[in-house]
């Protein structure tokens, strides 16, 4: 093995430029010395799934067997966001500290992250009286992200650190194998087609964006029909939602959904009658039975290595940084193996 080969940068492709792809690309640049990272995607901010989301940090509806991992990823992301908010970069990265209410119909146990987030408490009886029909609620401090600002800052940093961007729609990962040592797949809902992964299914979410600057908290409510209602103030706009329609690929707005959302949100917050509607959007949360964050075992050991980081469901903006760090760790593992073989 020659010294020259040792000095050649590892060629890494990150596929997908949403929150997962960009954060993964950055973490790889931080973690791996001497690498060339190319970001390949067909959609970029502000057109990714991440961009349309409300950018709320909240671990939500997590299956039992993933609680530990999701909690860890969530808290790593929380710590990262808190650090950003405390700095002068808060507005450039679109990070907003915000507290709020999360209601449900029946008394529940405190979530596993309750001790780690700021300002967590159960709502008292007096407070619950303000929200008729709600039996239980928690209050905590979290974040809503202006995702276009976040991704714009991520992109800037990625390029400053020598990253290269390629706009391209891939039919398969094999198309680019010959050009890279490692490929990290962050294609979210795109993995369904790209990998023929039948486990990836959309959970459609309809939202309305309004201007309502007097609203300074978030409100999340799951009622007895399992309807989700949420009022999520972002930096300049408030996102009203929502729906959670399994297996629904429709990204067109649905007037019935929109009407239902408005009705439910008005019940929680009557002053929304004075909100100004700015637009509507329907996005596809990339659901999978669990997040797939692993080295692909099916590829030929002598060929390009593939790492997967997709299937974050509705928790993308809650766990992205923790997942990106883990993905970068996996890349590091592969780099060590690659080096030891040379």
């Amino acid at each position: 093995m020659s010294d020259e080969e040792d000095m050649k940068p590892i060629k890494i492709a990150v596929v997908g430029a949403g929150a997962i792809g960009l954060s993964t690309a950055l973490c790889i640049q931080d973690r791996i010395r001497n690498c060339d990272v190319n970001l390949i995607a067909d959609k970029f901010s502000p057109s990714t799934t991440s961009d349309g989301s409300a950018g709320l940090w909240t671990p939500f509806l997590v299956p039992e067997d993933q609680i530990e991992m999701v909690t860890r990823w969530s808290m790593e992301t929380y710590t990262y966001l808190l650090e950003k908010f405390r700095s002068e970069d808060a507005y450039r990265y679109g990070v907003q500290l915000i507290s709020g209410f999360n209601f449900c119909q029946e008394v529940k146990t405190d979530p596993p992250w309750c001790k780690d987030v700021l300002g967590f408490r159960r709502l008292g009886e007096e407070e619950l009286k303000l929200y008729p029909g709600k039996e239980f609620g928690i209050f905590y401090t979290a974040f809503t992200l202006d995702v276009p600002s976040l991704l714009s800052s991520f992109m800037r940093k990625f390029r400053e650190q020598g990253g290269f961007v390629i706009s391209k729609k891939l039919g398969s990962l094999q198309e680019i194998e010959s050009s890279y040592d490692i490929i990290v797949n962050c294609t979210g809902i795109g993995s369904a087609e790209l990998l023929n992964d039948t486990k990836v299914k959309p959970k459609r979410g309809q939202v309305i964006r309004v201007r309502a600057p007097w609203i300074k908290h978030f409100y999340i409510d799951i009622d007895k029909n399992d309807d989700v209602t949420y009022i999520l103030p972002g930096i300049d706009t408030v996102v009203l939602g929502g729906t959670a329609q399994d297996g629904d690929w429709n990204t067109e707005d649905d007037p019935a959904d929109i009407e239902g959302i408005m009705e439910r949100c008005l019940k929680v917050m009557p002053s929304l009658k004075d909100s100004k509607r700015l637009g509507t959007w329907a996005g596809l949360r990339p659901y999978r039975e669990s997040v797939r964050l692993e080295i692909d075992r099916n590829t030929n050991p002598s060929k390009t290595k593939i790492i997967h980081n997709y299937g974050h469901a509705g928790a993308g903006l809650t766990i992205f940084w923790g997942c990106a760090k883990d993905a970068a760790d996996l890349v590091m593992d592969l780099v060590k193996i690659h080096k030891s073989k040379m």
Binding site: L97, I98, L118, R121
Partner: protein, 333 residues
């Protein structure tokens, strides 16, 4: 039918006028003032509800608690109603930072939450240079929406207004059954109350919509969300009558606030404002009969609220309205 004049159209004047209409629905109430709306001292106030007994000197704590509760019931009911936007009332969570322990403040009885942050939380939020930090969920009035809203309610109830400067109280003798003095700082000249003094304040209003919390210290550094703008302040200069904006005050405010809350970086200044807090110890709420040249004049005073004008407005106005009723119908025995 009683003719009542309320002098002054700031938050105290308008709130008092409304409370009088409530207590005496058949009375004719007229607000007479030189200044209205954006010309009033109230217009620029930050509107944060956190009445603090130690700054309302000379008033028994029991009374402060009563005013606090009366005000809270009114403001919070607006804040959760469908009128939150039009009335400019919003529920806001935030942080109160102090070097000394905040023991059982008056507002603790009423606000949605008041609790001390653990040392860990305090550090995580970057408030390590303060010994104590408290998270509070309270209400904030955006005065430039709240005051006009109150004014509309007053007019809807048949209230009249007159834009006029009163220099001689004799003009009002025989015309009004009771005159209610809500002239704030004007009481110094109009009623010769030289115990009143100004505490000059400077506020900036900035665009920083990513800041959804208030942050309040006693060190002339605070952030108060006001609708789509953020109030950044302040200063407290006693006996300073200067209404001009001084750039060194602005620089001081920005420096102090950025130090406590670096996230403020990127904020764009929308406008600045200087006001004189009309301070008196104690706040004067009482009735008297003035013997003037032209004859006797029944007067009810409601002025001197200093730094607590907005938060104490509804509670003190209710008391003042009751005094008006007493002055007209005779005292309760």
């Amino acid at each position: 039918m009683y003719n009542i004049a309320v002098l002054g159209a700031g938050i105290i004047g308008v709130s008092t006028a409304l409370n009088i209409q409530k207590q005496l629905p058949s009375a004719r109430v007229k607000i007479i003032s030189e200044k209205f709306g954006q010309e009033t001292t109230s217009w620029g106030a930050g509107g944060l509800f956190r009445p603090t007994a130690k700054f309302i000197r000379g008033v028994p704590e029991e009374t402060i608690r009563k005013w606090s509760r009366t005000g809270w019931e009114f403001y919070s009911s607006l804040a959760v109603s469908d009128k939150a936007k039009e009335a400019g009332m919003q529920i806001v969570s935030g942080y109160i930072l102090s070097q000394t322990k905040v023991e059982n403040p008056v507002y603790k009885d009423v606000v949605y939450t008041f609790h001390e942050l653990s040392r860990e939380s305090k550090l995580k939020l970057g408030f390590g240079h303060y010994n104590y930090a408290y998270m509070v969920t309270t209400v904030i009035a955006t005065v430039r929406e709240y005051l006009p809203w109150l004014f509309e309610r007053f007019k809807e109830n048949g209230g009249q207004t007159e834009q006029r400067r009163i220099d001689d109280l004799n003009e009002l003798v025989g015309v009004y059954d009771v005159v209610v003095n809500c002239t704030g700082f004007g009481s110094r000249t109009l009623f010769g109350d030289t115990s009143m003094f100004p505490v000059r304040g400077h506020l900036l209003r900035v665009k920083a919509p990513w800041i959804k919390n208030f942050v309040f210290t006693e060190d002339d550094a605070y952030l108060i969300p006001n609708g789509d703008l953020l109030v950044v302040g302040g200063c407290r200069q006693e006996n300073n009558f200067n209404l001009n904006i001084e750039s060194k005050d602005r620089e001081g405010i920005l420096e102090r606030c950025l130090k406590i809350f670096p996230a403020l970086k990127g904020a764009v200044i929308d406008h600045e404002w200087v006001g004189l807090r009309p301070t008196r110890f104690p706040i004067r709420i009482e009735k008297e009969v003035l013997q003037l040249k032209k004859g006797p004049l029944k007067v009810v005073h409601n002025y001197g609220h200093g730094a607590n004008g907005i938060s104490m407005s509804w509670g003190t106005s209710k008391d003042a309205a009751e005094l008006v009723k007493e002055a007209l119908l005779g005292s309760k025995l």
